[in-house]
């Protein structure tokens, strides 16, 4: 049962990465690409946590934590730039 859940989660993450990269490549406007990179960041956090569970090394959860704390910084800077702030 747990194996099935992990397989389904990996398949969902795989599909989400493919969809996000597709939107990044196709996206006509800049805002589409920014939202795509924000989505891909969150998907990679979930991928790291899934891999931490699969490999049994829970040091990897710390990496996911640092990732979640720092990943909003770039999106915030770009958003401020688009609003002529910074």
């Amino acid at each position: 049962m747990a194996e099935t859940i992990i397989q389904v989660a990996a398949a969902l993450i795989l599909g989400a990465i493919l969809l996000g990269v597709t939107r990044l490549v196709l996206g006509p406007a800049l805002v589409d690409r920014i939202v795509a990179i924000d989505m891909l960041t969150i998907i990679s956090i979930s991928l790291i946590v899934l891999y931490a569970h699969v490999s049994g090394r829970f040091v990897y959860v710390d990496v996911a934590l640092v990732y979640g704390l720092l990943s909003f910084l770039a999106v915030l800077a770009i958003a401020r730039f688009l609003e002529n702030g910074l």
Binding site: L14, I17, V21, L30, I37, L40, S44, V63, L73, L86
Partner: protein, 82 residues
């Protein structure tokens, strides 16, 4: 399934690097290069190097994009004034 995920992450590095080199809009190229750093960090972690992945996530994906945005803003301000 996990090996397929590793392959997809490596393909993501390739696609976002190509996009960063080919896009005309500088801001979109910056976003794509940040995404290349993000996928590289994930692949470092999948290759069992969590400390390298943490440094890459902090510097390569976060700080570099921030500095690029700051530099582009300074450069476009300087170009607009004269």
């Amino acid at each position: 399934m996990l090996q397929l995920l590793i392959l997809v992450v490596c393909a993501g590095i390739l696609v976002s690097g190509l996009l960063a080199a080919c896009l005309k809009n500088l801001m979109a190229a910056m976003v794509s290069s940040g995404l290349a750093g993000l996928f590289a960090s994930v692949s470092f972690l999948l290759l069992a190097a969590p400390d390298v992945a943490m440094a890459e996530a902090a510097i390569g994906s976060g700080l570099t994009t921030f500095i690029f945005v700051y530099a582009l803003r300074s450069a476009s301000n300087g170009a607009r004034e004269p």
